[in-house]
């Protein structure tokens, strides 16, 4: 059996993933103070269970799994409620914009405010939000995301697909409300 790494080396490596954990905690709790508490608790737990970490494996995924498990324990009472997404069907933003004559479609993305993109992510139910964080923000493979979430790969893929559809629907709704697009085509919005 491999020996545990020295605590200092372990801590130093673990701290290189702090931004990832904080961002994840912030998106999950949607509150900076709660995010900091959650991250601190996650690191304390990681230190306590560092013997279970296999050096050379994906420490970021290991730490994220600890953090999100704590989130579900502390904030959701371990109940990973099956919060269903709105039934948006196969909503593809590109198709929607193209159908409505918004050319070029990519220009619409340039006009979306960063805060609205984050808000759209935070509107997702937690089970879907976390898979977007892992897949789209942190660049986890399907396998690593599935292991982190403790679900089969097919489940992670399915959640990611549905979450993206909902995300695109939210961004489309925002684009409509803010006048970036109209139901029958683009509206000119001057860039800042």
């Amino acid at each position: 059996m491999a020996e545990s790494p020295p605590q200092t080396a372990f801590a130093e490596e673990a701290l290189t993933h702090l931004d990832t954990l904080y961002r994840g905690a912030l998106r999950l709790t949607r509150d900076p103070d709660s995010a900091q508490d959650l991250v601190q608790e996650a690191y304390l737990r990681a230190l306590r269970y560092q013997h279970s970490y296999q050096p050379g494996t994906n420490m970021k995924a290991w730490l994220f799994a600890i953090m999100r498990n704590l989130f579900w324990d502390r904030f959701k009472g371990s109940r990973k409620e099956d919060v269903s997404l709105d039934d948006v069907g196969e909503f593809v933003l590109y198709d929607k914009l193209r159908d409505e004559g918004a050319k070029p479609e990519a220009d619409v993305l340039d006009k979306l405010a960063a805060s609205e993109v984050v808000a759209a992510v935070e509107k997702l139910p937690p089970l879907h939000r976390e898979v977007v964080l892992l897949g789209d923000v942190e660049g986890f493979s399907y396998r690593d995301a599935a292991q982190t979430l403790g679900v089969p790969i097919r489940t992670a893929m399915s959640r990611l697909h549905r979450a993206r559809q909902q995300l695109q629907k939210s961004l489309y709704d925002y684009a409509l409300e803010s006048g970036i697009v109209r139901a029958n085509g683009t509206k000119e919005v001057p860039n800042e």
């Binding site: 701290l15 904080y22 961002r23 998106r27 900091q36 991250v39 984050v118």
Partner: protein, 72 residues
């Protein structure tokens, strides 16, 4: 590969989760299909946008220092 197959596999292509063979088939289709290429570029831009927007938050320095003291 047709446009329907391409659309069905686009997420996995963007996520670099296709096999080498599937990836080559999809790349070949994209090279000869401007509408699918437009869709691919849009989806890639959207994925980048989500990443960039959500990556703007960094852990507070005070938290980093506090954890460093606790952990080391």
């Amino acid at each position: 590969m047709n446009c329907s197959d391409c659309k069905e596999k686009l997420d996995r292509y963007l996520d670099r989760e296709l096999s080498n063979t599937e990836m080559l088939e999809l790349q070949l289709h994209l090279e000869g299909c401007p509408p699918c290429t437009d869709n691919y570029e849009f989806q890639a831009s959207l994925k980048r946008l989500v990443k960039v927007c959500c990556e703007q938050d960094k852990a507070p320095d005070a938290l980093r220092e506090k954890l460093r003291q606790i952990l080391t």
